[in-house]
């Protein structure tokens, strides 16, 4: 073959390479074999003619065929990239199908959540946690807590009894508050004490949208040397800001409880746009300095030690937090309710 005819053949091949369609894997393979195959590829075959050329022409012919082969390879590579990309997509994953979920979501009851929020704040302030029984005796539930013998809470109308009392003392009841846990803890150890007692308590109350025969409480107790009402206020205000937000309006108001003296209640201002005054004060917890009679009942010297105690319901702040208006909702456990927490 002469150089001219080689050139012509190369030019023709170049046209064929340019025109070849490379839209599928089959076409790619066909192209590779047809032009670049090791034995019978058309470009490969042309190289075999080079030795037959006059020596001075071989060099130019080699360069020409190399260029042609590079061009064909480049075209093949470019096509291979786009074809493989396209083919992966052709497999047809429907990305819009929902993800597999092995389970429904579970959840904690809103009372657990509110209780945890309250507990966590006090735990961060260095309080320990203690628990006690729900069946209590008169001494732990009332007498040691300085309830007078004829206090109305000792009455059948207010408290659920398991064993009747005799003239106001003795008897076994469902605890009316978690304060007996304070008594049990103080009896079992020596000051200092710094603890909260969460738990379920009972009252003899008709079941309505705002009352239930049981509810949950968190009580707190701190007894040490040098503990004052200022510490109490500081702790409670700190708690309320952590729970309701830094900008909450608070009111510390004198009150009365048999087991604390002086006593005070903490109110938070609840904004209600519809209300003529723009909101109202809501009582969230009762507190005070532990009554000397209580300390004496558990063998703590009230001259040496002072302390404070506080107690709050869990349901009420939970209702405020989540905008729940009927307390019974908590104990119905409707999935449509639980779903929201």
């Amino acid at each position: 073959m002469e150089e001219n005819s080689l050139n012509t053949a190369a030019a023709a091949l170049r046209h064929q390479v340019e025109a070849a369609s490379l839209d599928s894997a089959e076409e790619l393979e066909h192209f590779r074999i047809r032009f670049l195959g090791q034995k019978n590829g058309r470009i490969t075959r042309l190289f075999k003619h080079i030795p037959q050329l006059p020596p001075k022409e071989r060099r130019d012919a080699g360069r020409l065929l190399n260029e042609l082969r590079t061009f064909a390879r480049a075209k093949l590579e470019a096509a291979r990239t786009s074809v493989t990309t396209e083919e992966a997509a052709v497999q047809g994953l429907d990305l819009t199908l929902p993800g597999r979920s092995n389970q429904w979501p579970g959840s904690r009851h809103p009372i657990t959540q509110a209780l945890a929020a309250i507990k966590d704040i006090f735990i961060r302030m260095g309080f320990a946690v203690a628990e006690g029984p729900e069946i209590e005796d008169d001494w732990h539930n009332f007498t040691a807590l300085n309830f007078p013998v004829d206090h109305p809470a000792r009455d059948m109308q207010d408290t659920l009894f398991v064993e009747a009392s005799d003239q106001g003392t003795g008897g076994v009841m469902l605890r009316t508050h978690t304060s007996p846990v304070q008594i049990r803890t103080m009896l079992a150890g020596d000051p200092p004490f710094r603890l909260i007692a969460p738990g379920r308590v009972y009252r003899n109350e008709a079941i309505t949208y705002k009352s239930y025969c049981l509810f949950h409480q968190v009580e707190g107790l701190v007894v040490d040397t040098g503990v004052t009402m200022a510490d109490l206020k500081h702790t409670l205000f700190g708690f309320a800001r952590a729970f309701f937000g830094d900008d909450v309006r608070l009111r510390f108001r004198p009150s009365f409880f048999p087991f604390t003296e002086p006593s005070a209640e903490l109110d938070v201002w609840w904004a209600l746009p519809e209300h003529p005054k723009g909101g109202r004060w809501m009582e969230i917890l009762g507190s005070g300095m532990v009554h000397p009679n209580v300390l004496e009942a558990v063998g703590v010297d009230p001259e040496r030690y002072t302390g404070y105690a506080f107690g709050m319901g869990v349901e009420r702040p939970a209702m405020l937090r989540y905008g729940i208006s009927d307390i019974r909702t908590f104990y119905e456990n409707d999935l449509r309710f639980l779903d929201q927490f």
Partner: protein, 815 residues
């Protein structure tokens, strides 16, 4: 208790606004729950002075008035009333205010009436809601200042219109605050103003009354003092307006002048009084005694009572005439024909009064006050106050003298307050002079000696007996808002440890929430039948249940012996409401009676359990997953996961394939000798009884015990990771269908030791081609050691395992 602002102002000068007073009372310990305005609203209505009156140019019946209303220029107002005259003081509704006229709200605007501008309205009484009078405009008598709010004018002239009522919460330690003088005393102490008490000249001793009346007290503990006075020639009739308005303001219904006066005095000074018709008191004789029990008595509200023992009875010569401290009798009641009134002013024991009132189910204004403790020094003063008013308002004549029997005077203590103790309790220092001033203002007699204040408790404060009580009195008047905040607080001396029961509970929440369980809270009180039905030995209980003596309702009589009925109720409720999935858990206390030594209260066992329950679909319907109902092994798997998380590997199990009262089948878990709990399928009868559509499974564990044993196992030591490769071998065997898998696993573990590291069941199937009543079980075995194992030794081990399975269970290796 309701307190009237107008009434209060008789005893103390109040310069603050209603809102400030509300706040002040609350912050000094008398929480105001509600403030209501009494009578019509006259907001925006002011006093006007009519300067001149001209005829209207376009209307015969109208006049054009120039009225001074306090501001800049006089207002021009068109008026249609015939009685308007220059020089009058009249109520003027200014533009912008709203009046309720004939039941309709009318907004007053500046308008043109027949072409003449009118800026406001001169009002008739009916337009202000003060009366039905529409005969002409209201003319204000007495001192009236143009521009002052009409409400202030009305209050000043004591019209009773425009009063405010404060609903005050009286805590049990404030018996003194159940009257207007008591509340006024607090206000005077806070605002450093004087308290004005009504003058009551104490009567001269006189034979006159003793001739007509004798009083004796038998039960001197229950009735420490009995004072009595007589008023003759009274005319029983309506009380004057001012008295009626006072009573209406505090929520009382005026009855007649005599009864109204006793109520008035009670709300003034806190001493309950009773008025008898003297002519109906047999023998002119009053005797106070305790009832024997079982006596009958008709109170003046027309009700008949059988009296418990130790009820205080006020008797005449023949019969009881009143329940002391609670209510008078129908037989001695004052009525229209009464001419002589016997005023009783006594002191009855708080506890006894409370007991009787509760037993009889009668709560009265009198019992409310006696229960809290009334001023034991105030009986004569109150009787005189009432007698004087009766003389004045009913035309009666006071019989000279006063009977005052007090055989057993109440002596109140003197209490020492150390000034140095105030900062110890309150955390703030209050100047000594301020402490003394506050105590004096509250009625305490104070003698200072160095650091100590010797404080004589006044008779109106029987609740005060300790130093801290005095500190509380000082603190509430000084103001808790004087305690600075934030207050420097020390870090506690020791950091409390986390309790395992709390951290473990937390991990259960995380684990179960991730597995689709929702936490529930159920009532601890259930029906007795239900409690007894579920008190079953198969559930680890089966002891006598604990009932309450006074249940809230018949459906809540008994404490739950297990959380199971609560769980089933929630499953039932959600089934009824078409809700799923049913996957729940709860932590809660369970209860039963016990003869064994109790942890807390003898006779009662109480501990916390954790229950889990599932029923119905195992997971949400999905596009590439087959629906399936949850079964025993789903729950078992969750429990295995939980036990693994707790490091409890040493759990012994008892399987039970027979049905029991509550369960269709169950496995019970033990840790050493202790029962931890069980996993079970609910009995199909119960499943139907609770309306559950699919089989239900539950697991309940003694939570306290679970945590205890988990803690025993919690100290794990690190084992170095084995770098040598492990070798896996699978074997499949055919064996009788009835043969359970558990023992085979046990055998494989025993024989495979020590090289065998793990074994799992990875396939189970039954097929007729295996032979009748045969099944195939496949096990995946993993071998390893701290060296590289040779194939030969593994093959030998596998051979030993296969041989043992064959010998012990007739298992044939599948080829």
């Amino acid at each position: 208790m309701k307190i009237s602002l107008n009434w209060l102002q008789e005893y103390v000068d109040i310069s603050m606004s209603t809102a400030e007073l509300e706040e002040q009372l609350t912050l000094s310990g008398l929480e105001v729950e509600d403030v209501t305005s009494i009578g019509p609203s006259v907001d925006g209505v002011v006093v006007g002075h009519v300067l001149d009156v001209q005829p209207h140019p376009n209307a015969d019946r109208l006049t054009v008035c120039r009225v001074e209303v306090g501001s800049d220029a006089p207002a021009q107002i068109v008026c249609g009333a015939p009685n308007v005259r220059a020089g009058q003081h009249v109520p003027v509704a200014l533009p912008g205010c709203s009046l309720s006229i004939n039941g309709k709200s009318v907004k007053i605007k500046t308008a043109k009436l027949r072409g003449v501008k009118s800026a406001g309205m001169i009002c008739a009484e009916d337009e202000l809601g003060l009366s039905d009078d529409h005969s002409g405009i209201m003319v204000l008598e007495g001192r009236a200042v143009p521009g002052e709010p009409l409400a202030d004018y009305l209050r000043r002239v004591g019209s009773g219109v425009g009063d405010m009522t404060f609903d005050v919460v009286i805590t049990p330690n404030r018996p003194d605050a159940a009257c207007h003088i008591g509340v006024a005393r607090d206000i005077a102490a806070v605002t450093r103003t004087a308290l004005h008490l009504p003058t009551c000249p104490l009567p001269e001793d006189s034979e006159a009354i003793r001739i007509q009346l004798s009083v004796s007290i038998e039960c001197t503990q229950l009735c420490r003092r009995y004072a009595a006075m007589l008023v003759r020639g009274v005319r029983v009739g309506e009380s004057p307006q001012w008295l009626q308005q006072r009573l209406i303001a505090v929520g009382l219904r005026p009855i007649n002048n005599i009864v109204d006066i006793t109520n008035f005095v009670m709300y003034e000074c806190g001493q309950p009084l009773h008025a008898f018709d003297y002519d109906r008191i047999a023998g002119g004789e009053i005797m106070v005694r305790a009832s024997k029990g079982g006596e009958q008595f008709a109170t003046l509200d027309g009700k008949q009572h059988t009296l418990p023992a130790d009820t205080v009875l006020i008797c005449d010569r023949q019969q009881p005439v009143a329940l002391g401290g609670i209510m008078g009798g129908a037989n001695s009641e004052v009525d229209k024909s009464t001419t002589t009134v016997l005023i009783e002013s006594a002191w009855f024991d708080p506890s006894a009064t409370r007991r009787t009132a509760r037993r009889l189910g009668i709560q009265t204004d009198a019992s409310y006050r006696f229960e809290r403790g009334v001023d034991a020094s105030g009986q004569v003063r109150a009787a005189v106050r009432a007698a004087l008013l009766m003389a004045e308002l009913s035309g009666g004549q006071i019989v000279e003298g006063c009977i005052d029997v007090h055989p057993n005077p109440l002596v109140l203590p003197a209490v020492t307050l150390r000034l140095s103790r105030i900062p110890v309790i309150l955390g703030i220092t209050i100047p000594a002079e301020e402490v003394v001033r506050i105590l004096n203002a509250l009625g305490f007699g104070v003698r200072r000696a160095g650091d100590s204040l010797r404080c004589q408790v006044p008779p109106h404060r029987p609740d005060v007996s300790l130093e801290v009580d005095l500190i509380e009195e000082v603190a509430r008047i000084y103001g808790l808002d004087q305690i600075g905040e934030p207050h420097p607080s020390a870090v506690p001396g020791s950091v409390p440890l986390e309790r395992p029961i709390d951290t473990r509970r937390e991990s259960v929440h995380v684990l179960l929430n991730g597995r689709g369980y929702r936490e529930i809270y159920t009532n601890s009180l259930v029906e007795k039948d239900v409690a007894e039905q579920f008190s079953d030995p198969s559930l680890g209980t089966g002891y006598p249940v604990v009932e309450t003596l006074n249940p809230v309702s018949t459906s809540m009589t008994t404490l739950r012996p297990t959380l199971l009925p609560g769980l089933l109720k929630v499953m039932q409720f959600n089934t009824h409401h078409g809700q799923s999935p049913l996957r729940f858990y709860e932590f809660g206390h369970v209860f039963h009676r016990t003869a064994e030594q109790a942890v807390y209260i003898d006779g009662y066992a109480e501990y916390e359990t954790l229950i889990m329950g599932i029923s119905g679909p195992i997971r949400p319907k999905a596009w590439d997953d087959k629906d399936r109902d949850a079964d025993f092994f789903d729950l078992k798997g969750d429990i295995e996961h939980l036990l693994a998380a707790f490091g409890l590997s040493d759990v012994r199990v008892q399987y039970h394939n027979q049905s029991e009262a509550i369960t269709a089948c169950q496995m019970t878990l033990f840790y050493h000798k202790h029962r931890l709990g069980c996993i079970a399928q609910l009995h199909p009868d119960l499943q139907r009884q609770w309306d559950l559509r699919s089989p239900a499974y539950f697991a309940e564990f003694n939570w306290t015990r679970l945590v205890l044993h988990a803690e025993e196992n919690s100290r794990r030591k690190f084992t170095p990771v084995n770098r040598h490769p492990a070798a896996d071998r699978d074997i499949a065997v055919v064996l009788p269908s009835s043969q359970s898998a558990g023992p085979l696993l046990e055998t494989i573990r025993n024989v495979g030791a020590p090289l065998l590291q793990d074994v799992r069941v990875f396939d189970l199937y039954e097929d007729p081609r295996l032979g009748s009543r045969k099944k195939s079980l496949a096990f995946a075995l993993r071998f390893g050691a701290r060296r590289t194992l040779r194939d030969r030794e593994i093959d030998r081990k596998v051979g030993q395992v296969v041989k043992a399975l064959h010998e012990l269970y007739g298992a044939e290796l599948r080829s």
